[in-house]
């Protein structure tokens, strides 16, 4: 839905208090993308945003959220007091009559998606770098540049439901395999008390989480969008090497941990563990075998010894690969079973706001999905999803598009459920009944408040 290279006009971060006097405007700009933009344009863009934000503050105590001009849309996000992140996208405009614009509505980036993009960018920054305000002024420009330049250019938002609703894909697993994972984690933590397992991921699906939900989402996005694709590519390239590495290796730091010096490369993260009450700084260690990836945190105050990591490697390697093969067997069994079930002819999306579980009808295969969910439909779902106040904790909404798509959004007990039905000659009742049927069939054991 949003193509960074062509649609994003600019992305910048500013703090007005950094260069309060005239002539110091450039100091206010912590980061500007694209970097080749002329200083004057940067100043003008930032100046406009500063003015709008300031102006709006006279009307509302709530910070300003967006600005739309004829050709651009500005989304503002103030994660920390005084720090503003702004995303500017081009919108198609034309001097034709309004009705004609409707045709190309699909190209318009939904504000909620833009806002989410800003938010995840900030959360990623916060996890790997920390708060903006914790950096001294001299450093922050280079820190932002180092972090956001690769981040923004690697973001590849496509026309996909998973960008509209940011969730976590959980791996359905039989009880015994899940217990195998859990008991393995327990055993590991008991034997290596420095290491705390914060997530266990198989392929791109989460099995175990030890972080507070929102940090988990950020870490999950980092793994699934950034780290794992690189690893998978590496594994595919070095076929023979991968076979030799069957027993697993540390993938974070990406070069692995082979000697004492590698310990210096360990990355620190700011995260909150599940059932903890504060965010703390930890070393992030990630280990991978076959398709199983396991993440640990180590307290930054702990003394790190290379011996510890070597022994951990020897401990995890064989066990994790056996667990990974069990899971892979289970997955193939599960895949067979689901294949045998009559696939629902209609698309649905499930989202649980509490654990961010996200599930769609077809396998979340990006290539496949983009052709099936039309941008207009996606945009409607995005707006239902964003408009939590309207649907609230309990409600149902059915929308019909001019081209015979029926979109149903259901909210109940902190869960959301969307069904997309393409049916020319249906009436409202038939659609409602069909949605109920799909809901009961697909979401067994989950209680949706009856209508």
């Amino acid at each position: 839905m949003i193509d960074v290279k062509t649609k994003i006009y600019s992305f910048f971060i500013f703090n007005s208090s950094f260069g309060p006097r005239e002539g110091e405007e450039l100091q206010r700009i912590l980061f500007y993308h694209p970097s080749q933009t002329s200083a004057d344009t940067q100043k003008m863009q930032v100046g406009l945003c500063e003015a709008v934000v300031k102006f709006m503050s006279t009307f509302s105590s709530e910070p300003c959220e967006a600005l739309q001009t004829q050709s651009k849309r500005y989304i503002f996000y103030q994660p920390e007091k005084g720090y503003w992140m702004v995303l500017v996208v081009r919108i198609p405009y034309t001097t034709k009559a309004l009705s004609a614009i409707g045709e190309s509505r699909g190209d318009v980036v939904d504000p909620s998606v833009m806002y989410d993009l800003l938010k995840s960018a900030y959360k990623m920054f916060r996890m790997f770098r920390g708060l903006f305000k914790d950096f001294p002024i001299e450093e922050i420009y280079s820190v932002c540049d180092q972090f956001f330049t690769p981040y923004i250019s690697s973001r590849n938002l496509s026309n996909d439901i998973s960008d509209v609703i940011q969730g976590i894909n959980y791996l359905p697993l039989d009880k015994n395999s899940f217990f195998k994972v859990l008991c393995f984690i327990d055993l590991l933590e008991v034997n290596y008390p420095h290491f705390k397992c914060i997530s266990f991921i198989y392929n791109e699906q989460l099995i175990w989480n030890g972080l507070a939900t929102h940090d988990m989402l950020t870490l999950y996005q980092y793994l699934v969008q950034t780290l794992l694709p690189k690893q998978v590519a590496k594994e595919i390239q070095g076929g023979a090497v991968a076979a030799a590495q069957r027993h697993g290796r540390f993938i974070h730091p990406p070069e692995g941990i082979h000697n004492k010096e590698d310990l210096q490369k360990l990355v620190k993260v700011h995260v909150m563990r599940e059932d903890d009450s504060e965010t703390k700084q930890y070393y992030l260690v990630i280990y991978r075998t076959l398709s199983a990836t396991i993440c640990f945190t180590v307290d930054v105050t702990d003394e790190l010894e290379f011996e510890m990591f070597r022994s951990l490697d020897a401990f995890i390697g064989p066990q994790l690969s056996s667990i990974a093969s069990t899971i892979s067997e289970q997955c193939s069994i599960h895949a067979l079973q689901t294949a045998q079930l009559a696939a629902s002819e209609h698309k649905f999306v499930y989202f649980n706001r509490l654990n961010l579980a996200f599930k769609t009808s077809p396998p979340p295969n990006k290539l496949h999905l983009s052709t099936t969910i039309k941008p207009e439909v996606l945009s409607i779902i995005a707006s239902i999803h964003a408009d939590k106040k309207n649907l609230g904790n309990y409600g149902e909404i059915i929308i019909k598009t001019p081209d015979e798509y029926w979109i149903t959004g259901k909210a109940s007990n902190d869960r959301e459920f969307y069904v997309i039905i393409q049916e020319k000659n249906a009436n409202l009742k038939e659609i409602a009944d069909e949605v109920r049927r799909i809901c009961e069939a697909q979401m067994k054991g989950i209680f949706f408040y009856p209508m």
Partner: protein, 633 residues
């Protein structure tokens, strides 16, 4: 490898009974006889003239009396009801004869009679009492089974069988006699049950290695009867004979015991055998140790043979005291009888051997803890020791987490087998009873036992969360439903230990199973943990606790959802209007109030033909409220 040592456990796993039964020691004028059927020691002084004392382990089986000395006694035994005393004497010139004396209240009457074996030249090797008023003479010509008619002072022949035999071995628990023919190469068992003699499957032994009488025992073990034979190292290699093995060959028993079990002692020398609590005890004199073998342990048969090694390395029996003094153990004067008697004829002591279950866990390699627990699960008094072991493993879960979960698996696999059998028995009725597989459930530890006796006492342990997880994981592996006790324990442990995330994950994946108490516990956590409340509602709905769901929704100020839930559950006509309207008003959502008000009026209309609320429903204030808000609009 580090060894596990159960705290306060005995270093011995076998002991003699605390108080030995004392009797006059063997001497030139005193002869001592032991009858293992009744467990009685006979001390015959001066051929009985100066008195015969009978000592049993129980007082009721002890007595003393006098009798005439009519020659040296070979064997002397009471009938099972202690009403007839049979005596076999050594008379070189007479026919094979056994004398009988009728007894009344353990005192002799003057009714005496005798009976001579039917074979003229036969030599009586011994006699046995298969049941009250039935006696069998075992002779070198065969077996003669007779009925004793004490009132008529005569015996009636019931059955006889000819078999040329050199010696015999008798098992009073199963009434099976084993005759050794052909110089100890052929062992032929007979069953003397049901007043008849039944020839059983003969035991074929290696022709080159005939067995001698002292190496053969008949044992009752695991509800089956076995012939135990000591196979000493092969004589071909006399220079270095291999260690002795005990071969256990099944004679009769429930189906499932058709393998020969070979017990590897790894020792040479003089041995004796006892059976204690279905364990075979092999006493070895020169090393002064007693090894334990459990033939019920899991092992794979090879060529119809199961090989066993001692459960734990051999240790001697706990030193026994006679009076104030320690008595010599494994002495030359010991005689061992089945199943668990040991007699020291010189000291005049009769003991029984007993198992000290905790001694088995005194020194166990880390990876054999589960095996020991499996052994204890098959012992009568194993439960207490298992609890102690689990207690200690839980306390030291940092070291023993893996072993703990193996122990849980052993406990649960026994429970699972028992549960399956119960189900089969209940569904198939009598038929299943007959086809009972040879599982003996001595110790069953249910979930409430484990929680109540062990886990609840560890609420402050460091690794409680991990222990509880391992426990529930083990239940799942054995496909056992998590019962209320375990479920509650798990919830409490996870919540109090700040592992609510794990609890939610467990519930989402259905690990704990649905139960109303669990759902209620989750609801009570709901104000702290939105996830728990969400899962509680799901669970209540799955359990069809529709009324509860409606109540919860009302209390959460979700009146429309509550009405919907009531409707879906078919409870809409009974839903009290006042409750619903109160919740709607409290929720502050005017449209919701109005909608529900209309819905309730429509309901009244349909149910009673009039839209108005009944007086008893006490809805007047809400009617007012409705008028007020609609007027404003």
């Amino acid at each position: 490898m580090a060894k596990f040592c159960l705290k306060d456990s005995d270093e011995y796993y076998l002991a003699l009974s605390d108080q030995p039964k004392r009797f006059d020691a063997d001497s030139p004028v005193t002869n001592v006889f032991f009858d293992d059927s009744n467990g009685q020691v006979f001390t015959v002084r001066s051929g009985g003239v100066t008195g015969v004392t009978v000592n049993g382990m129980e007082e009721s089986k002890s007595t003393s009396f006098r009798m005439e000395d009519r020659g040296p006694i070979i064997s002397i035994k009471f009938s099972p009801d202690l009403k007839i005393l049979a005596i076999q004497r050594n008379h070189d010139n007479q026919n094979a004869t056994v004398e009988f004396v009728n007894f009344n209240d353990l005192t002799p009457t003057n009714v005496e009679y005798s009976h001579t074996c039917k074979w003229k030249n036969a030599k009586i090797l011994g006699f046995v009492w298969p049941r009250v008023n039935e006696i069998a003479f075992i002779t070198d010509h065969g077996i003669e089974l007779l009925q004793v008619l004490p009132e008529k002072k005569q015996l009636k022949s019931l059955k006889n069988t000819t078999f040329s035999c050199a010696w015999f071995s008798w098992c009073s628990q199963s009434n099976i006699v084993l005759l050794a023919g052909n110089n100890g190469v052929l062992l032929q068992p007979f069953s003397l049950n049901n007043s008849t003699i039944t020839k059983l499957q003969k035991l074929e032994l290696d022709m080159t290695k005939p067995v001698v009488e002292r190496d053969v025992f008949i044992l009752r073990l695991c509800e089956a009867t076995w012939c135990a034979v000591f196979r000493h190292g092969h004589s071909a290699t006399v220079s270095s004979p291999g260690p002795t093995e005990v071969w256990l060959m099944p004679i009769t028993g429930p189906s499932g015991y058709h393998y020969t079990h070979v017990l590897k002692t790894g020792l040479v020398g003089r041995f004796a055998v006892n059976v204690v609590d279905d364990l075979i005890v092999v006493h070895h004199q020169s090393s002064q140790t007693s090894q334990l073998f459990d033939i019920m342990e899991d092992s794979k048969p090879e060529n119809n043979i199961m090989i066993h090694i001692p459960v734990v390395p051999g240790v001697s029996m706990k030193p026994a005291r006679v009076g104030e003094q320690l008595c010599p153990m494994y002495s030359d004067t010991w005689v061992v009888f089945q199943p668990d008697y040991i007699i020291d004829a010189r000291l005049g002591c009769l003991w029984r051997v007993k198992l000290i279950p905790s001694g088995l866990a005194h020194s166990v390699p880390k990876d054999e803890i589960a095996k020991i627990v499996a052994v204890l699960l098959r012992r009568t008094d194993g439960k207490d020791t298992i609890y102690r072991i689990v207690h200690q493993l839980v306390t030291e879960a940092g070291t023993y987490l893996v072993q703990l979960s193996e122990v849980f698996d052993e406990i649960h696999s026994v429970y699972r087998k028992w549960a399956d059998l119960e189900v089969a028995r209940n569904t198939a009725g009598q038929a299943a009873e007959l086809a009972r597989p040879p599982h003996i459930f001595r110790v069953l530890i249910s979930q409430s036992d484990m929680c109540g006796h062990v886990l609840q006492q560890h609420a402050d342990d460091k690794y409680l969360v991990q222990v509880v997880t391992a426990y529930v994981a083990s239940l799942c592996r054995q496909a056992l439903v998590v019962q209320q006790a375990a479920g509650e324990l798990a919830v409490r442990a996870l919540v109090t230990r700040g592992a609510a995330g794990r609890l939610r994950a467990a519930l989402r994946r259905g690990l704990l199973g649905d139960a109303r108490p669990l759902a209620c516990a989750l609801l009570s956590l709901g104000h702290l943990d939105a996830g728990a409340a969400q899962l509680a509602l799901d669970m209540l709905w799955r359990l069809r606790g529709h009324d509860d769901v409606v109540e919860v929704l009302l209390s959460r100020a979700e009146p429309v959802a509550a009405a919907g839930a009531a409707r879906a559950a078919g409870a809409w006509p009974q839903l009290p209007p006042r409750k619903l309207l109160a919740a709607a008003r409290a929720s502050g959502a005017l449209p919701a109030f109005v909608a529900l008000y209309h819905a309730l009026r429509a309901r009244n209309e349909r149910l009673r033909g009039s839209p108005h609320f009944l007086k008893a429903e006490q809805c007047d204030s809400y009617v007012e409220y409705y008028k007020q808000i609609t007027a404003e609009q």
